[in-house]
């Protein structure tokens, strides 16, 4: 994907200002909604750079911790998603750097906990990783702007690993099979309207 084709995360969608405002007011439900909306997106950053699950968990936790402690000082609520991505990438690089130093100290070669090699993962083209993340960000930011029912439905149909057939999705969500198709069209239309065509 070229830079000119990068999704403009945050260009038309600003669903986060309300969530952030409620978080600042100490609303525990808002924090949970925010985590639900973006935990996968943040977790995908260290994973896309080849970090193992434990390190990816650390990066994700640190990123949300920084968000929580910096809620009052965020400059632009509409830029939450790029902010999360930047912090997660910075934390990821720190871990990669740390693991590299550990390997140097414990040379010649000490396998990582689950056999993955963060440095090898980091060799994945960072521009590609960034572009892919921006595409995910465009999608997740759009999903975050939908009502919970639409968000759950589209996740079940397009993002979950489980069977995406109407029958299976209806069973998982406790809906009638006949309602899935019309609801899907309505939710996709809404998603497109908030994400825009550009």
């Amino acid at each position: 994907m070229t830079s000119s084709a990068r999704p403009a995360a945050g260009s038309r969608v600003a669903p986060d200002a309300d969530l952030l405002s409620r978080c600042r007011a100490g609303d525990p439900r808002a924090w949970r909604e925010l985590v639900t909306a973006y935990e996968r997106l943040v977790y995908s950053v260290p994973r896309s750079y080849g970090l193992d699950r434990e390190d990816a968990e650390d990066v994700t936790q640190t990123t949300f911790a920084q968000l929580l402690s910096g809620l009052g000082s965020l400059r632009d609520d509409g830029s939450l998603v790029p902010w999360l991505g930047t912090v997660a990438r910075r934390q990821t690089w720190r871990v990669i750097d740390r693991r590299r130093r550990e390997r140097e100290v414990f040379a010649p070669a000490q396998p990582d906990r689950d056999g993955t090699d963060p440095a090898a993962g980091a060799a994945h083209d960072p521009v590609d990783a960034y572009d892919e993340w921006m595409q995910r960000a465009w999608l997740y930011q759009g999903l975050a702007s939908l009502d919970p029912a639409c968000r759950r439905l589209l996740q079940a149909l397009y993002l979950d690993d489980a069977d995406p057939s109407y029958q299976a999705v209806a069973a998982r969500l406790g809906k009638a099979v006949g309602t899935i198709g019309p609801a899907r069209a309505r939710c996709l239309r809404r998603l497109r309207s908030v994400m825009g065509d550009q």
């Binding site: 397009y158 994400m195 065509d197």
Partner: protein, 217 residues
């Protein structure tokens, strides 16, 4: 359907066509419109392709333990429990609790060497593979601040960039990584029970240190 949209090519129908959900006749009608360059159809196709490309960049679900920890960071539900409820400490069940091995108050020669205006108390907690030195001081009135020095038992182990998170009953207080020398400045801490969790590395497991910073009644 928007104004000017062809009846056979409303958004839902085009998406159904793209996902192979239409019968042959309906499919042929939409396909004809697409081949004829109907703007609405082409716009929907372009959007759907981008949407589909984004969904195909799989994001794996976050592990359950992480999901729970992330949610637990946030504000606590009003009336979630009595003030003395210690259940919030359960989140540290997976970390080894470091035990106090040195307290400068118990070593008067060290503690009394400082003036009362610069009162610093040093505590050292010992865990497997790691000692954690905590310097507590009250530089501003009654506010307690703390600095932490990570001291790996293996002199080759790296104490830099280690995640140190500080929790209180109210939730996460601070989350920082140690500097190149293994030092973390925690800043002002609440006058309450505080737990510092030091992340595991290849040289030690996750370790937590509990501090009771409540003022005597």
């Amino acid at each position: 359907m928007t104004s000017g949209e062809h009846p056979a090519a409303d958004f839902g129908t085009v998406v159904d066509w793209l996902e192979g959900r239409l019968d042959a006749d309906a499919s042929a009608r939409v396909e004809r419109l697409a081949l004829d360059g109907a703007p609405d159809v082409l716009a929907t196709v372009a959007w759907w392709r981008r949407f589909h490309a984004a969904t195909s960049l799989a994001t794996e679900p976050v592990p359950d333990g992480l999901a729970a920890r992330l949610r637990a960071m946030g504000p606590i539900e009003p009336g979630a429990g009595p003030a003395e409820d210690a259940s919030w400490l359960d989140r540290f069940a997976g970390a080894v609790r470091a035990t106090l091995s040195f307290d400068s108050v118990q070593a008067p020669g060290l503690a009394m060497a400082r003036s009362s205006s610069d009162a610093t108390r040093q505590l050292i907690f010992s865990g497997p593979g790691l000692d954690v030195a905590v310097d507590l001081s009250e530089p501003r009135g009654n506010e307690l601040t703390a600095g932490v020095q990570l001291l790996p038992l293996d002199r080759h182990a790296d104490a830099a960039a280690v995640l140190v998170q500080t929790w209180a009953r109210s939730g996460l207080v601070a989350s920082q990584r140690s500097d190149d020398l293994g030092r973390v400045e925690l800043g002002v801490l609440p006058a309450d029970v505080v737990v510092m969790e030091v992340d595991r590395t290849s040289a030690w497991p996750a370790v937590h240190v509990e501090l009771d910073l409540r003022r005597p009644a």
